[in-house]
Structures are given as C-alpha cells and as structure tokens.
Symmetry: C2
Subunit: 194 residues, 2 copies
DNA sequence: ACCTGAACACCGTTCAAGT
DNA sequence: ACCTGAACACCGTTCAAGT
C-alpha cells in the first residue's frame, strides 16, 4: 500500500529505485552479493547506498517489499472473488511461490518477525493474513483460537523453505494439516487442492 | 551418540576442544564474533581453526553439538520414565529451552535442515524425534500421518524463536495446537502442561 | 602431521570534498 | 541536499615456512 515514502529529490529517488532494481537482480544470482558491488553495478557511490539503506536487511526488505505489497494487495482481491477458505488457500499458494522463487523473502520476513525496525513490512502482512483468517472464521470454515500471527508462524515453512528436495508435497501436506487443525473439514481442504 | 570422531593427534585434539570451548563463550557474547578473533582467543593460528572447521556453520554446529547430543540422548531416557505423550512434551520443553538460552542452536539447526553437510547433526535429531513420535503412535496418543521431519518443521518455532516478546505462551499454545492436530485429546494435552 | 601467522582480496562503513 | 569515492578497520581464507 501507500508506503509513506517521504518525497525525495528526484535524483535521490532515481538512485533509490535503481539500487533496489539492481539489488533484486544481484541478490537473485547471489544472495550474499556485497553491498559495494551492488552500489557499483548501480553506478552509485557506496555512501549513497548506505544513505538509503543503513544496513543490509533494509535493502533486502526493500527489494522484496514490492512482492510483499503484491501479496498484501492480493488478499482482499481473492476474498472478493472466492469463498474465504479457497481465498486463503490461493493466498498460501502465492506465498509459497514467492518464498520459493526468490528465497530471500524468507530471510527478510524471518528477520521481520523478530526485528523491530522492519515491522513496517511485517505489519501489512499480518493485516492481510488477518483479513483472510477473519473471513474464514465468519464463514465458519475455521474455528477461532488461532490468530493471524499464529498462522504466519505455523506456515512459516511455506515461505522459508528452499526449492531443495521435493518439499513441495510436504508443504502441501503440512498446510492441509494446519488447516484441518483450525477446523477446516477434510473434504473442504482436499477439494481445494488442485 | 558416538560421533565417529576420527582419532586426532593429541595436540590437534586439544586445539579442537579449546576452539569449540572458546567459540562457545565468544558466540554467546556476540553471535557474529569473527573466526579470526576466536582463533586468537584460543591461542591458535587462523589456519588451524580453518583446518578443523572449514566454514562458520560447522564451527557453530560443533559448539551446539553437545547440546544436541544431550537432546538426542534425552529422548529414550524420557520414554523409559514417562508415558509417550508426556515424554514428547517434556522433550519439546527442553528443545524450546535450548533454542531460547543459546539461540545459536536455531540458526545451526535451521541450516542443518537445508544444508547437506550438516546432516550429521540433523540425522540424530530426526532419529530422536522419530522415537518419540513412534511411541506416541504405538500408544494411540497420536495418529500416523505426520512423520518426524514434519513434526520438527511444524514445531520449528520452538527452537528458532528468540527470547524476545512474551512468545512463551504463544509457543505453548502453538505446540498444543499441533499436538491436537496430531490426534492428541484436548484433555491429554492440557493436563500435561504445568 | 599439524601448526603458525603474515599476506591477500574483499567486506561494510565513514566522511571530506565536490555539485 | 545529495552524491562520490578514497580510505579505514576488519573480515574470511590461503599457504609457505616452521616443528
């Protein structure tokens, strides 16, 4: 959503944008890419990178911010188009995909859960999750008991898992397990999975 | 268990032991302590550290290896003394405590789940978890469906959580949730929690 | 065999000087 | 205001020389 970005001078804004874009590509190739190399590739002084992103995590979060924003924006759209439980499941699918393709999102979100200074990222995610959970409760698809944060923690395997091993079926199985634990009927869960 | 340590020359063994001991103290103070500083504090050349532990993770794993060994050894002892479900719960308690006091264990185990070269650590943990799960299944306390690795992933919040916020009640609540999902009766779970 | 420790390339971070 | 980029202290890692 409107991420309250203070208005920057146009050159500063351009630098910021280019840094995030270059970082996205660089981190996809090598998650441990150095900040100096990213600054250089962006045609920018090291100090400029550091001015915009005081530490590595903040840069990583900025990179995946758009993806997270998309995820956040997706929740109400899915709820408008699908029954609640199906909306929740489709959202989890996208969450898993995001965690898999660019596995940096996992580290960024994992950090966000514990570190204070990136709560700005975690907050909207929590809100989006909350919408989905609430809708499922209202429709009677799931029981109360588990809140949005609980859910995000329980399904952390979705966004923190690497594309290694054949963990895809495991992910689905564990997600189904969690949903059944939340009161979703066996049939409801099973029929939602393609 | 017997960690198949190839016999080293006595000075090499002494160096290894001192490195692990020094690393344990240094990492407790600062989880990002440099390897060079650890080598120096151990009164050993940097190359010696590197010879014993080719990368940082392997040193970290070695440090928490004893704790993990204890955890592994604890499983059969608990099963001998307590009913299966209670043994599982007590083991989870110790797991959470280990993850909390020295939170490096979380990073080490998290790495172990995905990285191949530390499977030596993850394997025994999996075996220990398997014993507990099997016993609970045999006694009818829980249903099949979820294997040892599933369980370790599902309760990863126990060992990966920081001592931040009052996540202790959350941890207990989520553990209870998982156990109920595995078929443990409400009463059984509730009465086990002190 | 094993260890030492200087050396190397590179890291994150800072800050005086520019525009 | 914002940027540059040389500079600093320090990092992980290597490897010739020692014992």
């Amino acid at each position: 959503m409107s991420s309250v970005e203070a208005k920057l001078r146009s050159d500063a804004q351009a630098n910021r944008d280019r840094l995030v874009e270059v970082a996205r590509e660089a981190l996809a190739v090598d998650p441990a890419a150095s900040l100096n190399s990213i600054a250089k590739a962006a045609g920018v002084g090291a100090g400029t990178l550091y001015r915009h992103f005081p530490n590595r995590d903040l840069l990583v979060v900025a990179v995946y911010r758009k993806e997270i924003d998309d995820l956040v924006a997706l929740a109400p759209r899915l709820l408008a188009k699908h029954p609640p439980l199906q909306a929740l499941l489709r959202w989890c699918d996208r969450l898993a995909k995001a965690g898999k393709t660019k596995h940096g999102i996992g580290a960024a979100l994992a950090a966000a859960v514990t570190e204070e200074d990136v709560q700005a990222t975690y907050g909207p995610m929590l809100a989006a999750t909350g919408q989905l959970i609430s809708a499922c409760r209202a429709s009677g698809d799931i029981r109360a008991e588990i809140d949005a944060q609980d859910f995000l923690i329980l399904v952390s395997f979705l966004w923190k898992s690497r594309p290694d091993s054949a963990g895809d079926t495991r992910g689905r199985r564990l997600l189904a397990f969690v949903l059944r634990g939340m009161g979703a009927s066996d049939e409801a869960v099973r029929e939602q999975f393609p």
